[in-house]
Symmetry: C2
Subunit: 525 residues, 2 copies
């Protein structure tokens, strides 16, 4: 009731009261999303993103009628809200939940898709839109806009596919789809910013090299910052030894440190997404296991349960974003602002969808072939054509990062008065909406046709490489002859299976030097 006082006072100001009303509406609609999502949960075709978008649309329609066609959304889309508050928990949770073993084993392939793939896809979408947009009578964008469109539509949202694929079912495929999803968000964002700084009037080889150099610098420094923040937290948790009953403080410290690393990266003009992703990975590797354990529960159980804290934050943020996209798609002002004819809007829409499909096909199939060729001698089974189709499909859906980048490029603080820009914003919304709805709904039937589960069974399809790979180079309790023989073995192994060998050396190093300092789970092998 004091707050009622505050609110009443706010009423006279006008802004605060409507602020509380819009928060209330959002919270109520979020609750509705969870309940409806749960009711539809038995239906494998519909997932939370789709539910949120549909409910967002319905809410938008209701608000449109209530406000008599003037305003369908309650809160204006605010990039700052998105980038400062909503994105960090989603990415941190992704890093925290990633299966590190699989992720690092397939690191090379993931980077191939996530980094080079985005470069290829952006180039195709940029060039294609530059060539095709004027043909449907849509002109008025400059060179930066076309380059930005390339990156805007190159960031994917793989949530729909990940909800259908199961982690234990085809580990390689899951790991590739998941890993690419995170890496390509970060790549798109970094590339988007590199392009903003580009002088398009001096486009030549040197400028392209500059973009690549910028990209590599941002990628490495951001990763290093994230790892440093994670290690610092792990060390603090281990050194301080928080007693029992203070798990809340430890979780608070972890969340705050991760968030701080994100903010610092932003302030230093690095990529916060990459930083907080690697911070999440390092924290789940070291810091997590330093969190003091309730004496009655095993470490594994604590881990399983506590993940919910981060998963809950991530879940709320994600639902909120899709809800917003659903509401905003009905924003009447935006559609009125856009002066383009219906014909050209439909044209732009189909061009973009076509370019997305093409841009993705242009890298998934060649790069899969390349990856298969590089892993020819290793024990990893190749990526079959059916799996390539699934990877290609998984990346067709466009999500929140596309929306945020489009707002960044085409609006000023969420508002635009330029009709061409308004058309682009509206088109982006429709692309995100329709790709999530149409392609998202088709994901389950597609995957069940491509990968019939009864044929594959729960754990066949891909043979996991020998887990008990012994790496004797560092073992000292053997005779010299044996050691030399083994050294030869492991050297030839390094030639044959570089990824696994490096992985094994990393584990030796981790056990010998890192874990004693930063803590971590007991090896389960």
């Amino acid at each position: 009731m004091v707050s009622a006082g505050v609110v009443v006072e706010g009423l006279s100001n006008g802004t605060d009261h409507s602020h509380v009303v819009s928060i209330s509406v959002y919270v109520a609609v979020l609750c509705l999303c969870i309940v409806v999502g749960q009711l539809l949960g038995q239906n494998q075709w519909v997932n939370e993103s789709i539910t949120a978008i549909i409910i967002g649309c319905i809410t938008g329609i209701i608000l449109l009628f209530m406000s008599r066609g003037t305003n369908s959304h309650i809160l204006r889309f605010d990039e700052n809200l998105f980038f400062i508050y909503l994105l960090p928990p989603i990415i941190f949770n992704a890093g925290f939940q990633v299966k590190k073993k699989q992720f690092f084993r397939n690191f090379g392939t993931i980077m191939l898709f996530g980094v080079f793939g985005v470069f290829i896809s952006s180039a195709i979408i940029s060039a294609g839109s530059w060539w095709l947009f004027p043909k449907v009578g849509f002109v008025g964008l400059d060179a930066w806009d076309y380059l930005a469109i390339g990156t805007i539509f190159s960031s994917t949202d793989t949530v729909c596919t990940l909800q259908v694929l199961h982690q234990d079912w085809i580990p390689l495929l899951y790991s590739l789809v998941f890993g690419e999803g995170v890496v390509n968000d970060a790549t798109s964002v970094v590339l988007f910013n590199a392009i903003q700084k580009l002088d398009v009037f001096k486009l030549n080889g040197w400028a392209a090299a500059h973009v690549v150099g910028d990209f590599l610098y941002l990628f490495s420094t951001s990763t290093a910052l994230g790892i440093a923040a994670g290690l610092l937290t792990a060390y603090a948790l281990k050194a301080l030894y928080f007693g029992r009953h203070s798990t809340d403080r430890e979780i608070a410290l972890m969340s705050l440190m991760a968030y701080l690393s994100y903010l610092l990266a932003e302030l230093l003009h690095l990529s916060g997404i990459l930083t907080v992703f690697f911070c999440g990975i390092v924290m789940s590797h070291y810091a997590w296991h330093n969190v003091s354990e309730n004496s009655k529960i095993t470490s594994r159980q604590v881990e399983t349960i506590h993940l919910h804290i981060f998963a809950t934050m991530s879940f709320i943020s994600e639902t909120f974003i899709f809800l917003y996209v659903g509401m905003d798609a009905l924003d009447a002002e935006k559609w009125k602002m856009s002066k383009s004819s219906l014909q050209s809007v439909v044209g732009i829409y189909f061009i973009i969808i076509f370019l997305i499909l093409l841009g993705r096909a242009a890298f998934v199939f060649p790069l899969s072939a390349l990856s298969n060729y590089l892993h020819k001698s290793s024990e990893r089974v190749p990526i079959t054509f059916k799996h390539q189709v699934v990877i290609w499909w998984a990346g067709i859906m466009r999500g929140a990062v596309s929306v945020a980048l489009a707002f960044n490029q085409f609006t000023y603080s969420g508002v635009t008065w330029n009709p061409v820009h308004a058309t682009m914003i509206a088109t982006t919304m429709v692309v995100v909406l329709s790709s999530t709805l149409i392609f998202g709904l088709l994901t389950t039937p597609l995957i069940s046709i491509l990968l019939p589960r009864n044929v594959l069974g729960p754990s066949t399809g891909f043979n996991s490489p020998r887990e008990d790979l012994t790496l004797p180079l560092l073992s000292m309790d053997e005779s010299t002859t044996t050691n030399i023989l083994r050294a030869k073995d492991s050297l030839s192994m390094l030639m044959e299976r570089p990824v696994y060998t490096i992985h094994s050396y990393w584990r030796k190093f981790d056990d010998a030097y890192m874990r004693p300092v930063f803590g971590g789970a007991c090896r389960d092998l």
Copy 2:
């Protein structure tokens, strides 16, 4: 790095960049608080509130030097931030963690202290300041201000004492101190608002009755709203039966529903504090146990661990508030604004401290005597004089609610140009600061003198009433004679021990009608 883009763009706007910087500084200082708090954790004298206030002061001094004496705080105190975002998790967590059995057993005494106590204390502080302030040369406040001062300094912060008292040690004392702390926050806030609406020029018996009527209306409707929201959530969780692996959705739904009840109460001009407190109680009683259990872990363990989600949110909010108080106490502008002489400021300060001590003594001792008299015939041991002193002491510390109310009364959106009001804000800050620091630091020695633990032992001092109190009025499987005899027994029991008897009937009702609908833990008796 997109966000870097946003930030860079923000830089040109000017506000967004400084916004990110201040969030970063706050997050960094929060991390520091947790680490330092942990390092000092072995020291029983210092607790988190004290650590946060001291670190806040130090940060304030550093910022004061960096900005060359112009500005010691980064974010201006924003009541909306406090009432919309920080307070709800703290109160919800308090409701969620409360030991319901103890709380409801001592409900009468808690209400006596929390409601009547605040009325008595407010009256004494208002009258005392109205009489004494002009004597130290401080004039310029109107009648509303004096009445507001009464309620501002009647809301207590019992965190310091609760950290020293242990729940299992002296359950009655803990429960009284904890319960009074929550109820008196709500009472102060409700009373504060009732006074705002009061026409002071027509002060008579009718006006007083009107305040009491308002108070009762707000109290009952707010409580009803909270209970309704809690039951609705419990029912939804039970009806939907979320499967395994979706605990994050259930926790999200609980948090969002609790938050929604708070916002709704505010929009309906009720007391959000009371609503969310009772919502927390109902949720922990029913909804919590409907949260689908991980098959490997017992309900009790899930509960223990999951509490950390709400406890973490609450902990961060609390630390943030104390940090702010520490920083704000050094706000140079506020001190310059206040044109009162040092002598009169010191005078006001000591008057307020004296009135707080007096106002509290004026109700703790008489009301304890009253409570002991009312419970004379029951099995509850009386509140001894030593315990009365502890209860009196526990409520001397002033906290965040006092600060927020003072800002509400004496500033407009956190800023004031009136020197008299600036003096009151500065004095409130110093009272909160010094009472938390000085009285907080003395709490441990005082309690160890009053209640030497080796004498009391871990579970003596208060004999808990018979837990196996059988209430046979509702049992049907006995002969009529026995039933009549037992009915006589339980009627006389109702006369003798009304509280326990009502409690037992409630449990019968709960088991028979409520739990089948809303779910809940299995009775552990």
